[in-house]
Amino acid sequence: MRGRETIIGIALMALLLVVPAVASQAGEPFYVTLATRIAILALAATGLNIALGLGGLVSFGHAAFFGVGGYVAGILAAHAMSMEPILLGIPGTKQMLVIWLVALAAGGLLALAIGAISLRTTGVYFIMITLAFAQMVYYFAVSWPAYGGEDGLPILLRNQFPGVNTLKPLPFFLICYVLLAAGLAFFALLRGSRFGAALQASRQNDTRLAAVGIAPYRVRLAAFVISGAITALAGALFADLNRFVSPSMLSWQMSGELIVLIILGGVGRLSGPVVGAIVYVVLEYVLGGITERWQLFLGLVLLVVVLFARGGLIGLVAGRARHG
């Protein structure tokens, strides 16, 4: 079954590359932007898939990491434009490579703090606590006026990447696409590694994991940190795509959307986030063109998937997930 899933995954990744290339040739930059949005959301969901899919950690607070990544991009760019140091003489920057590293670190650190407390609990407590901490970060962003508060922070010019004109849609899409591919490769390697084995065992039976001498808490915390860091990286790209970052990136709806992406695609599956992001963005585009109330239909689709198609959409075509 995994064979068919791999083929679907490769086909979709090829499609995601071909469509914007053709659209760009045809002078339809809007579709390039749509594809970029898909790639970024898929990367964010791939980060979440490490915690949720492999580790079974239902984090309803990943918007916190997504938004923090966005704010890293926004704040560094704002300081680079105004030439004011951020703190202690550290200057801002417009270089994506630096921004990404800072976003990874900031997301990882925040995940370490939130995870260290939340992972002392399990089940519904964990869901509610991650949701609560993300809301805390949201309210902080709203009430802290230095970087726009409720109104958010514009990025006047998209940040730069050496040798690439990031202002054009297609080159920026390619950057996001390569990072998504790297994220997926990382996920696949992680899943097959010793760490991945321990993480998946912690989801299946943490008593057993402890009994062989591996403390589940440390494994989960490490996974949560990695997961938060990757989602923050996607957040930095998202801010650059919109040239804007606001507290809405930190909202509970965002956390919910990321989970929805994974579920639509299939939990714990490598290509789940890609399938989910494509379906989500296309639904948004198609339904959103027909009715303003497209989320009503998204809600109904989601209900049907949860109640009747538990392996996600990939599960419908490729069969139930087999781990191991």
């Binding site: 002392r120 989970i259 989320q295 998204l298 109904l300 989601l302």
Partner: protein, 306 residues
Amino acid sequence: MQLALVIEQLLNGLQLGVMLFLMAAGLTLIFGVMGLINLAHGSLYMVGAFACAAVAAWTGSFWLGLVASLAAAAAAGAVVELLVVRRLYGRDHLDQVLATFALILVFSEGTRWLFGSFPLYLDIPPLLSGAVSLPGGSQYPLYRLAIIGVGILVAVGLYLLISRTRLGMRIRAGESDREMIAALGVDVATLYTLVFALGAALAGLAGAMVGAIQSVQVGMGEPVLILAFVVIVIGGIGSIRGALVGALLVGVVDTLGRFLLPQLFGLFMAPSQAGLVGGALASMLIYVVMALILAFRPRGLFAGEV
């Protein structure tokens, strides 16, 4: 610092706490009895507020609106339980989170469809529109005192319901052993629908009462829902008493924090700076309190009690 101002803030905190209790009590009951985490509880709060505002505007009576809010939220709860939630018992939490998240989307967009995107306004009933003099000389709105009163009445009522009535006995039994009460011939399916509708009615009541002091709009329920989660995490899932203590704690700490922290920072900062820093930190205060309580009691203050 004036005493009157502190008393006023304390009362505001109590009012917030009471409202959170109405939300948290339903959530914690539903979790305790059915093992379900219900994200759509905030939608039921919104349903109550809209029902109250619409009926009050139509009939001119706040009180009819209040009755309508209870009826509409309970009915919405019962329908949701019968159509969707019933299929989620015994499923893993991820499925419950997603399905109830989907319900939020349906409720929110459905409400927008019916009422449009603009907020509705609900007037305080004339009977309660006055103010009361507080010790220290300031005036406090009667309506807010009434909310506190209703909250206390509901808390007492819930306590009596659960400890003294046959329904309450079944609810308690349902928490500990559902196979057993099913074997004893209790209609578990109906019991669950009832509990869910009761929780929904409490949320609707909270929404209606708050609707008169804030605007009634789509999305009003979720911030309250998340605060109610903080309450439950602090109090311990499944415990009504924990919900009460947690709700009052969160209400008072949040309100006093927003009032006192800026003043505290004002002692060693410029006033404008102090307002910013104090305000931003105050918005995080209850989450810090939650984290501290979790550090010592990972399962909340009253875990395992009803």
